[in-house]
Symmetry: C2
Subunit: 469 residues, 2 copies
């Protein structure tokens, strides 16, 4: 494919995406294909000779699109939003087209420096002090893994440079609430802590971790000869957007010398609204934090920001320095390979840079406020309607709701709840994610797709009332 052929085919791809975005509301939100249905339509072996670009493009329409659940759909209320602002998409197009890599600073200085600047922009937008240094990672799962490895190495005074975790005399303990994201569990297991050393701390009636329970658990563990290592606090849990009391947890962590990691993967976007910053009050006392602009804020996936206070510690834990990566500039620059797991890195800052500039902070704020208002509107409707319950405080854009018809409870209610959520999803008119809270199924309504206006929330409310009846 020559440059000219790329130009022509590229215009067609851009047109195809522009059309897709314009008509995405017409597709059923959730894919209706059966397991294996897409696979069965693809040749089992690769072609030996070239296929035409027409043939490839035709397969997008004929095969691929039916196998998509449409995350950019205005009636996508599942999981958390994963918005890709058009300008952010274009920033990513530049990145892929340039095909430059960041191994060391020298391997493309602009890749590193635009990332330094844009992660600092996001720091300012989130109201964080300038003691934080940011770096782009793929996902919050990875950021939390980095955080727990950094905590492990702090607790062991860099045990990795000696016998590793296996030579530690006392088990290291990680603390989180049962409502923390599954990636916290996963990160602790991958980092070698072991399930027995992940201590889940009691929550209060709002699903927030109790600082007094944390303190008591740490004291008990110390008395038993264990070594408390890290606390993960969540600002905006996945099931219910519950808010752990960061300030109180920070006090406990500091008292015992523990690493404090704040998982604000979802709620971090809301921190560009000054009126929301009470939600992570105390964050300045944390050691690390993650927020995901690739969720609600609208930066094309993947763009997860990991902020640390002690960058030297991160670099010491993550660095390698083989001869083939050394350059004369090393002493003066940030070498991003030492700020995470991968050696090679895309120019991911471009999508963040494009979107912030094309939107401006005020427009980003306005959209998030729109979604917060839509959530409050729906909460009002639910509260005012018989047999409907809201099961957790609606502090952000996610509602946890349940329809509780008289006489139904326990497992029968669970089956009923899963049944109507399934009917909504199969209708194709909206997409919701059921989840459990206190052991019982409920339905999450996560508002905040780019195209989601009040009318879509109103239509959803009508739809679910129809499906439960």
């Amino acid at each position: 494919m020559t440059s000219e052929e790329f130009r022509q085919a590229g215009h067609r791809i851009v047109d195809w995406i522009a059309d897709y975005r314009a008509k995405v509301a017409q597709f059923p939100v959730m894919a209706r294909t059966a397991p294996g249905e897409i696979r069965a339509q693809l040749p089992p072996s690769p072609p030996d000779t070239p296929e035409t670009f027409d043939a490839i493009l035709a397969d997008l329409d004929k095969i691929v699109i039916r196998g998509l659940s449409h995350w950019q759909h205005p009636s996508f209320f599942g999981y958390f939003p994963s918005n890709g602002l058009p300008s952010s998409v274009l920033g990513d197009y530049v990145s892929t087209g340039l095909g430059v890599l960041g191994l060391s600073w020298q391997s493309s200085p602009a890749l590193t420096e635009v990332e330094e600047v844009t992660t600092d922009w996001m720091r300012q937008m989130a109201g964080l002090s300038d003691t934080w240094k940011g770096v782009i990672q793929d996902t919050a799962s990875t950021c939390t893994l980095l955080a727990l490895i950094c905590a492990r190495e702090k607790s062991t005074s860099y045990g990795l440079s000696r016998g590793g975790l296996q030579s530690e005399p006392r088990p290291l303990i990680v603390y989180a609430s049962a409502h923390s994201h599954s990636s916290v569990d996963k990160a602790a297991l991958l980092a070698g802590f072991g399930r027995e050393n992940i201590h889940l701390v009691e929550s209060d009636e709002n699903f927030a971790m109790r600082a007094d329970a944390l303190d008591a658990r740490i004291e008990r563990d110390l008395a038993q000869g264990l070594q408390p290592c890290a606390v993960v606090a969540t600002t905006g849990t996945t099931a219910s957007t519950a808010l752990d009391p960061v300030e109180d947890l920070a006090r406990v962590a500091k008292k015992h010398g523990l690493w404090l990691h704040v998982d604000a993967a979802m709620a971090g976007s809301a921190m560009i609204l000054p009126e929301c910053r009470w939600m992570w009050k105390g964050v300045e006392e944390a050691d690390s934090l993650v927020l995901n602009p690739h969720k609600w804020l609208g930066i094309a996936f993947d763009c997860s920001l990991y902020y640390v206070r002690d960058e030297q510690h991160l670099v010491r834990v993550m660095s390698t320095n083989p001869s083939y990566l050394q350059t004369a500039a090393d002493a003066q620059v940030r070498n991003l390979r030492d700020w995470g797991i991968p050696l090679g890195r895309r120019f991911r800052a471009l999508k963040l840079w494009f979107a912030i500039r094309e939107q401006g902070v005020a427009a980003l704020q306005a959209r998030l406020r729109r979604d917060l208002e839509n959530a409050q509107w729906l909460a009002g409707q639910v509260r005012a309607t018989p047999h409907w319950r809201i099961l957790a405080p609606v502090v952000l854009q996610t509602l946890c709701i349940r329809y509780e018809p008289p006489g139904l409870e326990g497992e029968a209610l669970d089956r009923y709840t899963q049944g109507w959520a399934d009917r909504v999803n199969k209708s194709g008119d909206a997409y919701l994610t059921p989840a459990t809270l206190e052991g019982r199924w409920m339905v999450r309504v996560s508002i905040g797709s780019l195209q989601t206006e009040r009318e879509h929330v109103e239509a959803l409310w009508k739809l679910i009332q129809k499906e439960v009846s």
Copy 2:
């Protein structure tokens, strides 16, 4: 930005990239900017109001492009190539534009199933048996981390579900050669093994790990009460593309019940050439392997393939199953969140699918053979020229060379070597990566950029002869 505005701006971005690719040979290969020079041109704070798309595009030309080292340049001979075939770039454009995520299969079935099919295509292209199952990861660093965590959990019978690595009675040992990639070291440290438990095994005169030395080291470690856990064999080391004897190492690993991971990040692309498959003979006895289509093969970064034989083991080690991720289809499908670290995933298979179809296997093979021939041509020139030495077998597309003028040796020769490599890089006419081999500096010439033809290799040979004299 409306769909129409996206369409127009998108065309301009495609044109900009088409122009960039067409004229990339005119830029100095290595960026000439000083540390901080790009950063200083960017506003320290984000804009509150929107900027025009013109302004953003203008900054690409004015600021960003000067800060790039051009990996797609025909005279890029540094590191290893990171080729982005135009068709692969377009596949990635579709992925970013769709903005769908793969958490579970249901969250976009096509994302999972196209990945199943295309990783299986690559398996066939590399001549691997159908006992291997593949999954796309970001980089080989991550794949090797997964491999060592899987090895750790196999050795400990899933110690992560109990007390983790810290409760193991005997230190677990990882074996690799000193010529293995820095990511092996890093992965072992991040996985908690500890530096003392990374045992580097002697190499032979071709920088390949010695199987007899591995066996002897394992026996010695067993006698000392240590627990051998994993061997990492490299097919194509970074400094010199040395080939560890996979078959012999597999025999030793099997004898002692160790996990064998094959790092073919670079050489894996060459396995689409049947005449190259002797290089990893024995690979069918390995437990896991990584190959990077985002290097020489030409799939836009990031696209690293991790293959395992026992997929159930991988899933058991990596899986989490919170309620908000459960779907009715779970029992019948592959949920890719359980095949790696991140929960969210891009639709990365599209770039692989587009490129293989647009090229066809035969054209991919022809390009790789072109590069192998260019490497042999240059090797012939170097061998035939006084005072020049080739320091390692040229089995792939990378040469390790040194100019050794009479009377120069030791550190003086090192300074001389680094000096001329630096002059080449600063000339802007070519880019090379110096590295050490047996403690002495040499210069790597890594051939294989998409646009690199014989004429560029000839020009490089002229250039370096000029710079050494």
